[in-house]
């Protein structure tokens, strides 16, 4: 079991690797990646019962990333977990690379292909339902965006999760309150999300989604019997890079050379601080 400080350090390192990767490739969903870095680190390092060795085991836990555009952070976490060599990621977004701008299951560690929003929850309902039918005790986790909540398919999936009482399902919303065009409240208000998911039969846990201790606790608490769980994770889009935080424009912005260096300095300072603690 890693300590909270070790997980925080890991998240900072993953942010740095992602920042470097996007700068190198000149493409990526910077703000979206940084927003959910802590969620993925908590999940893969502390919660998900799955390793590269068990990835094809029918009893493994599953993770399906509905907000597929945050693929750069997912790649870095998977590489860090040993699903493939870190050096593979040097080919990210290059000709003939499998490491493209959305998750594909050509890559070890990725279950199902996403990128078109509004699919992950339904896919996860299917995976959870199959687990119930087969009497397996694996758990499925999915991560959605808050802008993504505007897709009708999300609510069809939510209804079926409640209907089938899927207590082997945990959905997480990266609740950063921003999407491409601006604040989610202005683009298409989806609040109150907690009340909506409760009405659909979910237990709802509201946490600080950039707080490692809260994440680990919320993700590892078992579901109430017969209830799917929704973790409404309040996050900061662009978290960790001062000038990208809470800026819709950083959704898929690539840093300039100057911004890159400044961001790297900020991340290195965080990493140094955590190492010295």
């Amino acid at each position: 079991m890693a300590t909270t400080r070790e997980l925080e350090l890991k998240a900072a390192e993953m942010r740095k690797a992602t920042w470097e990767m996007i700068y190198r490739a000149k493409t990526g969903h910077t703000g979206s990646d940084l927003s959910c870095a802590d969620i993925l680190v908590a999940l893969y390092n502390q919660v998900l019962k799955q390793t590269p060795a068990t990835f094809t085991d029918p009893n493994r836990d599953r993770y399906i990333q509905s907000k597929g555009h945050a693929v750069e952070i997912l790649y870095n976490v998977l590489a860090d977990q040993g699903y493939f060599p870190k050096s593979d990621l040097l080919t990210y977004s290059q000709f003939n690379s499998p490491y493209i701008g959305h998750p594909t299951n050509h890559i070890n560690g990725i279950e199902l292909n996403t990128g078109s929003l509004g699919h992950g929850l339904g896919l996860s309902v299917g995976v959870a339902l199959a687990g119930k039918l087969d009497h397996r005790d694996y758990h499925v986790y999915t991560l959605m965006g808050d802008g993504e909540q505007a897709e009708g398919s999300v609510w069809e999936a939510a209804m079926s999760a409640g209907n089938y009482k899927l207590d082997n399902l945990t959905a997480i919303i990266d609740h950063n309150r921003l999407q491409i065009s601006g604040p989610t409240a202005d683009v298409m208000n989806s609040e109150p999300l907690a009340d909506k998911y409760r009405a659909f039969g979910f237990d709802v846990v509201e946490i600080d989604g950039n707080n490692m201790a809260e994440l680990v606790s919320a993700l590892s608490t078992t579901n109430t019997p017969e209830r799917p769980k929704l973790i409404l994770a309040d996050t900061i889009k662009g978290k960790g890079i001062s000038f990208a935080e809470n800026q819709a424009a950083w959704h898929h912005k690539v840093p300039t050379a100057e911004q890159y260096q400044q961001g790297l300095d900020e991340l290195n300072a965080v990493i140094g601080g955590l190492q010295n603690e």
Binding site: S97, I100, H102, S116, A150, Q179, V187
Partner: protein, 313 residues
């Protein structure tokens, strides 16, 4: 001549003009106003931009409802989502109910390149072409885009327009030469009767480039612009077939069901004209920039030239 323009920018400025005069004209977006180049529209006519959030299906259905009550919505979403996620809404609420909705599929074809297959629309022509009462267009340069949008702001019929992300080089001298009416294609190059290259949209300039290279190699080609993929200019295709008997089509789409298929269907009954279709093969698309991908699949001008030379031997 100017240095070309992006279709999205042209559509935005044409739509601002039209929507200033006709307040019923609306731009409907699904968190897509930036990628649709509509920020100037949003600034100029904020009340005429209807934001639906990331909900492409509802964007189409709500637009059909608004059209039924006198509005003139232009729906802007990535072509992949607009024509595949929302296709039943397009078929039932727009085409079948005959509501005056214009569907603008942005970032079409392979333009999202390394974002992968979820974001590509290499099947949109096949799908939309098979829906009755839906016109299908692919403009190739700024003049054609402008003339097409001017037409669409006046017309009462449902239509789908697919555009890409590139700066389109100028092909036409002016709007009048570029687009006149639905079902009208254009011969944009005519050096002889060895072969007719047929294309539309972003790939038309590649076809033109290939024809010019073929001329240097002693092969005399025609180039046809099928901006109106539906209705199709069957008369023009027949006239070309009378003269050349060998068509080569080029499209940023699957080889199944797109422009090449439309052309083949049109001339097959004649029995005297060969049609070779160049497009994306029926397999997962390789990752790369649009140019790398085109080269890989033999869809760039140099590859088209080689293929034509082989086919003519």
């Amino acid at each position: 001549m100017s240095k070309g323009a992006k279709a999205g920018d042209v559509i935005c400025s044409e739509l601002i003009d039209a929507a200033t005069k006709n307040r019923d004209i609306l731009a409907v977006t699904s968190d897509s106003r930036g990628s649709a180049s509509l920020n100037p529209f949003a600034a100029a006519l904020p009340d005429q931009l209807i934001e639906m959030g990331i909900a492409e299906q509802n964007s189409v259905t709500v637009s059909a409802g608004m059209a039924h009550s006198g509005k003139r919505p232009f729906v802007f979403s990535p072509a992949s989502f607009l024509t595949m996620r929302s296709i039943e809404q397009v078929k039932d609420d727009v085409a079948y109910s005959n509501t005056n909705v214009k569907l603008i599929g942005i970032s079409g074809g392979n333009s999202y390149s390394v974002l992968g297959a979820t974001h590509h629309s290499l099947q949109d022509l096949a799908i939309t072409r098979a829906i009755p009462n839906l016109q299908v267009y692919m403009p190739a340069d700024q003049y054609q885009t402008a003339a097409l949008i001017q037409y669409l702001t006046q017309s009462a019929q449902p239509a789908y327009v697919r555009i890409g992300k590139k700066v389109l080089p100028d092909i036409y001298a002016d709007e009048a030469a570029a687009f006149t009416k639905p079902g009208k294609g254009n011969v944009i190059y005519d050096k002889g009767n060895d072969v007719t290259l047929i294309s539309a949209g972003e790939t038309l300039s590649i076809a033109l480039d290939a024809a010019q290279q073929l001329e240097q190699a002693g092969i005399h080609a025609k180039v046809v612009d099928l901006v109106s993929i539906k209705p199709l200019d069957v008369d023009l295709l027949n006239r070309m077939a009378d003269q050349t008997h060998h068509f080569v089509t080029l499209e940023e789409h699957s080889i199944y069901g797109g422009l090449g298929s439309a052309v083949a269907e049109a001339v097959a009954p004649r029995g005297d004209t060969k049609v070779d279709i160049i497009g994306f093969p029926d397999e997962p698309v390789i990752a790369g920039t649009q140019d790398e991908v085109f080269q890989y699949y033999g869809m760039d001008a140099a590859s088209v030239v080689k293929k034509v030379q082989t086919w003519l031997q």
